[in-house]
């Protein structure tokens, strides 16, 4: 009987996209059965095109910056794109996987991904925006698996 991991992915920024996919792919490598429930902003991680994932320095005093940068500078137009570009360069230079690669690794290793149907309706998303091989469901669907899981994390 394999161990089970249930994750809720609720955030849709480039930095917060990492924890659910890293944990899910690793757990699958450890022979866990894994499900991720994507809700609210996390739903963006299931879109076919992940190239618009961004990281925001705004309101994040822990983010390392090349030079000290007050909040009012971080809110200027273009700052978010610049921070995202720099983060992507760092990611590539450190041999860290892209989100696309980690998501593919998850899918290939049998991680089940569930899109929150309510969020799809709320944000008027089209099911054709999402990758193939996912399911749509609600809170009860999550608990069907989470209730018998060994590890449950909200991210």
């Amino acid at each position: 009987m394999p161990k089970k991991l249930a994750l809720i992915a609720s955030k849709g920024t480039l930095d917060w996209a990492y924890p659910p996919f890293i944990l899910a792919s690793t757990a699958a490598a450890l022979d866990y059965e894994v499900q991720i429930f994507f809700t609210f902003y996390g739903l963006t991680l299931l879109k076919k095109d992940l190239s618009d994932l961004k990281v925001s320095p705004l309101g994040n005093p822990a983010m390392p910056m090349p030079v000290p940068m007050p909040n009012f500078v971080q809110m200027l137009p273009g700052m978010e794109s610049m921070a995202t570009m720099m983060m992507k360069q760092k990611i590539a230079s450190k041999g860290i996987a892209s989100i696309e690669d980690l998501r593919t690794a998850c899918l290939e290793s049998g991680v089940k991904m569930i899109a929150c149907q309510m969020t799809v309706d709320l944000f008027d998303f089209k099911t054709t925006d999402f990758i193939d091989g996912i399911e749509f469901g609600g809170a009860a669907t999550f608990f069907e698996f989470a209730g018998e899981s060994d590890v449950n994390l909200f991210i």
Binding site: I22, S25, T26, A29, L30, D31, K94, G95, I96, A97, L102, A105, S109
Partner: protein, 77 residues
Amino acid sequence: MEFDKELDARNLNCPLPILRCKKGLSEIAATQTLKIMATDPGSVKDFQAFCKQTGHELLQLDEADGLFTFYIKKRAD
């Protein structure tokens, strides 16, 4: 040390060495040995933890100039 398959996970960061290792193990027969090289310092603890949890056996770990070489024997079916 003898091995049946060799994998290069150098310059890759967490969790890629483990994912590569898992894939590599799926491509060899039970009780065969996989050699995998990594440069991620975190991989030492991670490979030990991986083997402990999956039942594969970490036969040997070599370290030289920041290069870690693992020899992992695939568990019997």
